[in-house]
Symmetry: C2
Subunit: 263 residues, 2 copies
């Protein structure tokens, strides 16, 4: 069984790109909806995966979009991950983080039950809340450092002389090997600062596309000084289609993003 990083490196090489396709599938925005929500979403995901699997170095699946359907949603999640298969790595975007035992069970949910290759986690509750995830050494843990939403400024970059996100990055790097970080593209100068401070961690970068982050500068900075990153695009690809050739349009859009994120 390959590690997340081995899978990622393979598909970065194959696609020549660090594009991550985000499967934040929203029933209300689907081009074809039957009364069977479960089937409509799964069919859509399958079509998107078929249209993009040679263009994406990984997929990110947002757990919230499926959990809202309860047990049915968890089935959809699991089937979608199975459909992607064992070759292309899957990041479960779940933003979990709780005391030890609970984090341990969230890790089991992501890795043992859903068979994801990676998870996103929140560091608010401290290092012992993250430790259980890092026990899965073949998996990739992305700790949210700096998020791309406006509220990312509320706590993460205060106080200005020693911001929380940087303390998170320092502490996580001191405690765990090979941590990844979620790091928003809405503030590219922060990515530059990070790389110039010597941090080479793999970054998962959201916020390009509909959130308006600066793709070219973020790309340049993310790969500075031996750094590596994947750039997530969700809505910008999923709902780019229209008309009868919906999935052809999606594929063309994904190609544009692949080229934007050429490595």
């Amino acid at each position: 069984m390959k590690t997340f990083i081995q899978k990622l490196d393979l598909h970065m090489k194959r696609t020549g790109s660090c594009l991550c396709v985000g499967l934040d599938t929203d029933y209300d925005k689907l081009p074809a909806r039957s009364n069977n929500v479960h089937k409509s979403i799964l069919d859509f995901n399958k079509n998107v995966i078929e249209s993009t699997s040679d263009l994406a170095c990984c997929y990110k699946i947002n757990s919230a979009f499926y959990e809202k359907y309860g047990a049915d949603g968890i089935f959809m999640l699991k089937h979608t991950i199975q459909y992607i298969g064992n070759s292309i790595p899957v990041i479960l975007d779940a933003k979990r983080g709780d005391i030890g035992n609970s984090s341990w069970y969230y890790a089991q949910y992501a890795f043992d039950h859903l068979k994801a290759d990676s998870i996103t986690v929140l560091p608010y509750m401290g290092m012992d809340s993250l430790a259980p995830f890092f026990k899965y050494r073949d998996k990739q843990i992305f700790v949210v450092a700096l998020s791309s939403n406006p509220g990312g400024r509320d706590f993460q970059d205060t106080p200005f002389y020693n911001p929380l996100y940087l303390r998170v990055i320092k502490k996580v790097n001191a405690a765990f090997k090979n941590a990844g970080f979620v790091f928003g593209a809405t503030r590219p100068e922060y990515i530059k600062k990070l790389r110039n401070s010597g941090y080479k961690n793999l970054l998962l970068i959201p916020g390009v596309g509909t959130q308006g982050g600066d793709a070219a500068r973020s790309m340049e900075y993310a790969f500075l000084n031996g750094g590596k990153a994947v750039f997530n695009i969700s809505r910008g690809i999923l709902y780019a289609g229209n008309g009868k050739k919906y999935y052809n349009t999606i594929r063309e859009k994904a190609k544009e993003y692949r080229d934007m994120f050429r490595i």
Copy 2:
């Protein structure tokens, strides 16, 4: 349909106590296990609920303990909440928090799908990540401020002159009405400080019992200056039973805690 607070007040009055019973049910620790994990856990939960429903002013259910079983676990969660019924309020301990849309779907998971009355959330991603939860005005949102685990010290109470947990409390109170906070009992002097600063928010206090928090002092401080709180006990009750009269022993233990948390 009653609000969380109306339900809570009713059951605080009925029980004369602010004891919250935590259903963090662990299959490996059950007194009776069949090969049917689903049924074993549900039967256990039903027995615990029957043994404690006149002693607890609310129940807390830790989502992680169920999610590890995937869709099956979500069924167990939903059935357990149905079994508790509409009278006693249920807190879904889920520690969620993501950008707007995702938080919105997590809120739907808790309130529309599972029919919980309350949820715990993490504030790391800022105020816009919390806002969707607060749109459910009849529900109670508990924002994690100060957690009871050792890692609670890593980020939450730094820097010392203006700690993160206090900035969270200030910002949340400025933005939303009737917010609750998760506030660990492992540091009672912090509860006192909070009440002496004029914050009357409803607190969800874990960390008494197996985590060793000081119950008497925490109780005294939590109700200072018009404050109100519920104290959660999970393992201290669930696994207190032994032998043939397992659930009788649980009930006796729950009575002890009810008396410890008399109001």
